[in-house]
Each structure stands twice: as C-alpha cells, then as structure tokens.
C-alpha cells in the first residue's frame, strides 16, 4: 500500500457492519426476489441428499448484502465495479460480518480512482469466523470531490 496515495484518498475507512443471523426465511425471500429456485437453498431433503448438512444461502444473497455495503461506503454514484468470489457456504444462523480496505487511490484524467478489497466472514455460535466471500470494488471521484452530480 502506498501511504502517500492513501492519505489523499477521498473515501473514509470502511465502516463495520454485521447482518443477521440469517434464517431459512431470508434464503426463501431472496429466492423469490432474485428468482433462483435451485432447491439446494430451500429444500432440506434435497440439500441433504446432495451431501450438505442443511440448506445454505445463495451466493448472490451474500453478494447483494455486500453490494449495499460497498455502495454505502464508497458512494452509490461513485461505484464503477464490484467483484465477488464465493469461498464458503453461508448456513442458517450465520451472521455476516462485512469489511473492506483501500488498496489504491490514484489520480485519473478527471479525478481520483479508488480500488478496495472487500470481505464477508460468517460468524455463528460455537464456530470460528470463516471467510465466505472475497471481493473488490472500484469507485471514481470527480476532481471537485464528493459524488458526481
């Protein structure tokens, strides 16, 4: 990380956010909203037959929660890119713990471009926190500062 560049960074440190515990109802609600009805996310019998201990959350549910977090942190209108890689399952009862870190802040033609890393960990009673998603985002800020008009 380049200290000089980061000191000029137009974004604040990433806020702390915890979401959950997530329930089977949250998974069903996301299935309806998004339209992904793979039964592995809502049908316990199907999930067990496929070798899982229970149903688990859609990757895009975790990504959706992270998208809102990234937009709130970086500025909805500044967000230019978001990427996610699913690392592990989110089980019923898990609490999502969202975080991020500025990787680079660079001057571009008409302002500043900021790249950040993003992570989602899952916490549950009696288990160590696990990384469930790793990702990143890009945001741009006009030279005048703040969000674009």
């Amino acid at each position: 990380m380049n200290e000089r560049q980061v000191s000029e960074c137009p974004v604040p440190p990433a806020p702390a956010r915890r979401v959950g515990p997530l329930t089977r109802t949250d998974f069903v609600r996301y299935a309806g909203a998004g339209g992904d009805f793979n039964p592995i996310h809502h049908d316990e019998t199907f999930a067990r037959a496929a070798g899982y201990p229970s149903v688990f959350g859609h990757g895009l549910l975790t990504a959706g929660v992270l998208g809102g977090y990234a937009a709130a942190w970086l500025g909805r209108r500044n967000l230019r890119g978001l990427s996610v890689r699913y690392v592990d399952q989110v089980w019923p009862g898990d609490v999502l713990v969202l975080g991020g870190e500025v990787l680079a802040s660079e001057a571009v033609a008409d302002g500043t471009e900021v790249r950040v890393s993003l992570t989602v960990h899952s916490e549950a009673r009696g288990r160590d926190p696990r990384l469930v998603l790793s990702g990143g985002a890009t945001a741009t800020y006009p030279a005048s500062g703040g969000e674009r008009a």
Partner: protein, 148 residues
C-alpha cells in the same frame, strides 16, 4: 457436464421492465437500507427520476431469461455452486427503464479443486436500456463439481 464446444454460445436475447415493486422487494431481500431503493421521494431528492436499482439487481433476470436457456449446459443442480461475479457499472438503471439482455458463454474451464475435478462456466451479460445505452456488464461464473 458442460464442455468447451459451448464457448461463444449466445442465448436468445430478451427484454424486461425495471419495476417499482421488484426493486423494493429485492432491496429488502438483500437488506439494503439505502432509502433511495425504497422511497420515491428519497430517490428524487438524490437526483434520480425514480428508484435506482441495488448493485446486484441484475440477479432478477432469473425471472425473465428465456426458459430452458441454462439447459444447454446440462448442469446437475446437486453439484452446482456459484463461483463468483463481476459487475461493471456504466450508467444509472431506474424504475421505468426497459433493459435488453444479451448473454453468451465466454469460457468453459476444467480445474482440479479441493473436492476433485470441476468445470467452470463463465457467462457474459450486457444490459442495454431503452435509449440504446449500455448501462451494465456482468460476468458470472458457475461451478459444476465432478460426479461423486
């Protein structure tokens, strides 16, 4: 099991309207509390003509994509996992827009993973609005684990 012959395969394109109720429902489902996704007055105060969509709203295309589209991959749902996704935001998407989606299979890869052989299928989606502006690009990766 998907194979490399599918690279370049184009799905039938389709259009869908960005609907008020769907934007609110989706924002609630992903626990996005930004009032611009729930309240038209808040959206207008922020300079949008109507509710803007949350960053991963492209997922709702599952309700619209031409039925049978994924069948070309022949995936076994018991062995399928989402791998990841990348969104590139090129313009605002708000309630009232009509988006046309074009999707093609960009890559099919075989890999050796922790749970044995797996196949990765990368699909690229382009979203064009009613003014012919490309407002969103999405690359998504689906993983099919090997037979147990």
């Amino acid at each position: 099991m998907a194979d490399r012959d599918l690279i370049g395969h184009e799905y039938p394109s389709y259009s869908f309207p960005v609907e008020y109720g769907k934007v609110r429902e989706f924002a609630l489902a992903v626990k996005d509390e930004d009032p611009v996704h729930h309240d038209v007055e808040a959206a207008r105060a922020a300079g949008y003509p109507h509710l803007p969509v949350p960053p991963t709203f492209s997922a709702v295309t599952s309700h619209w994509a031409v039925r049978g589209g994924l069948d070309v991959l022949g995936l076994d749902l018991r062995r399928v996992l989402a791998g990841g996704a990348e969104w590139e935001y090129l313009g605002d998407i708000v309630v009232g827009d009509v988006l046309t989606v074009r999707s093609r299979i960009a890559d099919v890869l075989s890999k050796q993973g922790g749970r044995g052989p797996m196949t990765l299928v990368v699909t690229e989606h382009t979203f064009v609005n009613q003014r012919q502006e490309t407002v969103l690009r999405l690359r998504s990766t689906v993983i099919e684990l090997g037979e147990r």
